[in-house]
């Protein structure tokens, strides 16, 4: 089960490599992004450790079940609703932002909602599956995608076009004090552990999470790459001119001997898979949270026949996304991203601290008696 935790961590980190995190960070590259990233690494690692430690005491139980053990019902219900919304928003936002990007770059002659139609259909299908299926899916997709992403990153770092001077120049702004926005953006790289909120239900009773030192190592690697590599390619000032900075960065690389010369196509296809996967996982957890609001709901980690409720909730999400697509554009995207990143950080940090305190009260020895 260890590996499944790291798959979801890698998924979130790699996804945010491309979406709004670099945009926010690069915007503030001279006004505190570098020091914020250092703060984010510490903060992200700490919350990651706290969350996994807290949830590790309750293998086989998701957040809804843990909260029900300790909290009164009037408190649990709104909190679960909030979480459902957060998961829904995070994944739908990624989906919409990526659809927009894809549409601008790859298929400018098609309307954007056309693309969202097919992406969303896959997301509906994926998110209604059982938790177990989603885990298998996560594994297969990550195993297929990660080598390619690492290949692209490696190619970028080794590229002769990278101006290391520009990177060093920006790195010298490390003494500027951190800002809230950049810290929030930086910690988003580390949030892979929140997927345990539901998927902790699948953990076996003797589950122990090993190798947590990978969290800061991998997270900071991704974080530095997402920030510095575009600066190296485009220069300290010009880097801000791009709307989708990582697409342009990928487009700056060429595969001289490949069928496909432009790395960007490879990058887009890989990230399409990653975005759809992320949305499936996010919607699935959102659905589970919504259904857990009812106290009578008996969850199942694996089922043969998809419950009707899953279809309905997923379809509603889809309709909301399609509706949002009509008013969405890049400006709104950036604005929402900034507000969203900060809100998300606060909600998440508070929940983790809260969860950690709640879980600390109970000795782990009695857990078998309650869950049966």
């Amino acid at each position: 089960m260890n590996r499944y935790f790291y798959y979801s961590f890698v998924m979130v980190a790699m996804l945010n490599l491309m979406l709004f995190v670099p945009a926010v960070l690069i915007e503030q590259r001279m006004t505190g992004a570098v020091s914020s990233m250092l703060v984010a690494i510490v903060l992200g690692t700490l919350t990651g450790y706290a969350a996994t430690a807290a949830l590790g005491r309750y293998p086989g139980m998701g957040i809804p079940e843990i909260f029900r053990l300790h909290m009164p019902e009037w408190f649990v219900k709104p909190v679960l609703a909030l979480y459902a919304f957060m998961f829904f928003f995070a994944s739908s936002f990624a989906l919409i932002a990526f659809t927009l990007l894809m549409n601008r770059v790859l298929t400018p002659d098609l309307p954007a909602w056309n693309l969202l139609l097919v992406l969303g259909a896959v997301c509906i299908y994926g998110s209604t599956r059982s938790s177990m299926t989603l885990m298998f899916m996560l594994e297969v997709t990550i195993l297929l995608i990660t080598p390619v992403v690492l290949f692209i990153l490696f190619k970028g770092i080794r590229s002769p076009d990278v101006a290391w001077n520009a990177i060093f120049t920006v790195a010298q702004y490390v003494r500027v004090p951190p800002t809230l926005k950049s810290v929030a953006a930086g910690t988003f790289i580390f949030t892979g552990y929140i997927n345990l909120a539901i998927f902790n239900r699948l953990n076996p009773p003797n589950f122990r999470l090993k190798g947590r030192w990978l969290i800061p190592l991998f997270g900071s690697g991704i974080l530095f790459t997402t920030f510095f590599l575009p600066i190296g390619f485009h220069g300290t000032v010009a880097v801000q001119r791009y709307m989708f900075v990582w697409t342009q960065t990928a487009d700056s690389m060429t595969m001289n001997f490949g069928f496909i010369e432009r790395v960007m196509f490879l990058f887009l296809m890989i990230y399409l898979g990653l975005t759809v996967l992320y949305t499936c996982v996010g919607w699935h957890q959102s659905i589970e949270f919504v259904r857990s609001i009812s106290k009578k709901y008996q969850y199942e980690v694996d089922f043969n026949k998809t419950p009707k409720a899953n279809w309905w909730i997923s379809c509603i999400y889809f309709v909301i996304c399609i509706g949002a697509m009509f008013i969405w554009d890049e400006g709104l995207n950036m604005l929402v991203a900034e507000i969203w990143l900060v809100t998300r950080m606060f909600v998440e940090q508070v929940s983790i601290v809260f969860l950690f305190l709640v879980c600390r009260k109970r000795p782990p020895a009695v857990k078998g008696a309650v869950s049966s």
Partner: protein, 443 residues
């Protein structure tokens, strides 16, 4: 007894009945002559009865070939399966004298290997069980027998290693076999279909094979084997997708060769499903995907083609599917002619006439050949199907459509369960498994 049997088989001319007497007994014998080996009847019944070397009632009691049958309602059943009924002193005995017409010691024909065992299962159930037992000489091997089909009364045997088998799967299979309702059961594929919950499945969740080495290997891994009378193919379950992609030969060859061949097969799987769809997506939506020289040469070869790429793809796919279908259905001798005519001449002519581009010919043949690389026939049929949804997605959505289609395919595969077991996942060594996901069940 003779009276009753004649009443039950009113018009059957081949029901033979005898009333015999010797110095001590009067016996009655009944059997269906066409189902029975009559030399066995005379050797075991008629001759001993006439010779009287031992008292005939002793013989019936002592010889294990004869078993007593109390239930008169089962007479017809038993006779239809090739048994002889003997009545002696108001007791009824049966003896198995069935004569089954079958192919003798067949060689593997569907899944051939170069250096593996060449004998396949037999169409006779007993011979098949015999082959398996002799290759898997373990006292843990158990077999259970079922009868399926209200008219055909086909004997179905389930074989498993009772120590290694998963009991929940075993129960499920038993339940499925008992609950099958059909008139006639004629092939293993039909049986496999009846055993599935979901009749509208795309990928096979059980392996239909004729290879004995595959079956014995499966037994040692705790799989269940279901065989039926009259078919030289057995069902093996539960199964995983990757097992359908391995050939038995992978075990017999050196490690790196097998790794190479296996990865080759997966590449072939990807190519046969995506090539036509990618062709459409690239030509019609994103010709800038390829490097410029390649894009030009594709455009050049398409210069004389007067219609959009998807019509081209449909023409060629239609042709190649016809060819494959024709070469399966035709007698062997005409089959090769059909392939030559269709493949070589039609393809060449179509390209020269400007109906399809020469790149499309290459795409089609690569796709067709890659499809034949898949070792299990039922999987290769399923793979033949899934390129069509991808083509439709490519027509309407271009490259992102194809990528989404592939992703949806992965979701579909992951959501499949083979008799309650995961169908598509990464397997790790056993010592890692003790902290596997999903060991906690709800409730």
């Amino acid at each position: 007894m003779i009276q009753a049997i004649h009443e039950r088989f009113a018009n059957a001319k081949d029901v033979k009945t005898h009333r015999m007497t010797n110095s001590r007994f009067i016996a009655e014998v009944a059997y269906i002559a066409t189902l029975v080996d009559e030399s066995k009847v005379s050797e075991f019944i008629l001759v001993p009865f006439a010779k009287e070397e031992v008292p005939f009632n002793d013989l019936l009691d002592r010889n294990p070939n004869f078993t007593e049958l109390d239930d008169s309602a089962r007479w017809t059943d038993v006779m239809l399966r090739g048994f002889v009924l003997i009545k002696l002193e108001s007791k009824i005995y049966t003896m198995d004298a069935a004569r089954v017409i079958r192919n003798a010691n067949p060689l593997t024909s569907v899944e051939s290997t170069i250096e593996g065992p060449q004998i396949a299962l037999s169409e006779d159930l007993l011979d098949s069980v015999n082959i398996i037992r002799s290759r898997y000489a373990s006292p843990n091997l158990q077999s259970e027998e079922f009868t399926v089909g209200s008219i055909s009364k086909t004997r179905v045997v389930m074989v498993y290693d009772h120590i290694r088998v998963d009991p929940t799967v075993l129960d499920m299979v038993r339940l499925k076999l008992r609950s099958i309702q059909t008139d006639v059961l004629s092939a293993t594929g039909e049986l496999a279909k009846f055993m599935n919950d979901n009749r509208k499945r795309l990928f096979p969740v059980e392996m239909i094979t004729e290879r004995v080495d595959r079956l014995t290997r499966g037994l040692s891994k705790g799989k269940i084997i279901v065989m039926m009378q009259g078919s030289m193919f057995a069902i093996m379950l539960p199964i995983m997708f990757t097992e359908l992609m391995t050939a038995t030969e992978d075990r017999y060859e050196s490690f790196w060769t097998s790794v190479m061949l296996l990865s080759l097969r997966f590449v072939a799987l990807l190519m046969t499903t995506t090539l036509p769809a990618l062709y459409i997506a690239v030509i019609s939506y994103n010709p800038e995907l390829f490097r410029v020289q390649l894009a030009f040469s594709i455009a050049g070869s398409r210069a004389s083609v007067p219609y959009p790429s998807f019509i081209e793809v449909f023409i060629m796919l239609f042709m190649i599917e016809m060819l494959v279908e024709a070469s399966v259905r035709l007698p062997k001798y005409i089959g090769s002619t059909a392939t030559t005519v269709g493949g070589l001449i039609l393809g060449q002519a179509a390209q020269q006439a400007g109906l399809v581009s020469s790149i499309m010919i290459i795409v089609t043949s690569v796709m067709a050949i890659s499809n034949f690389v898949i070792p299990i026939y039922s999987l290769s049929l399923a793979v033949r199907f899934i390129k069509y949804p991808l083509i439709v997605l490519a027509i309407f959505f271009g490259l992102p459509g194809v990528a989404c289609g592939i992703f949806a395919g992965v979701i579909y595969l992951c959501s499949q369960r083979s008799f309650g077991k995961p169908y598509f996942r990464l397997m790790l060594p056993i010592d890692w498994k003790h902290t596997d996901i999903g060991e906690v069940k709800s409730k």
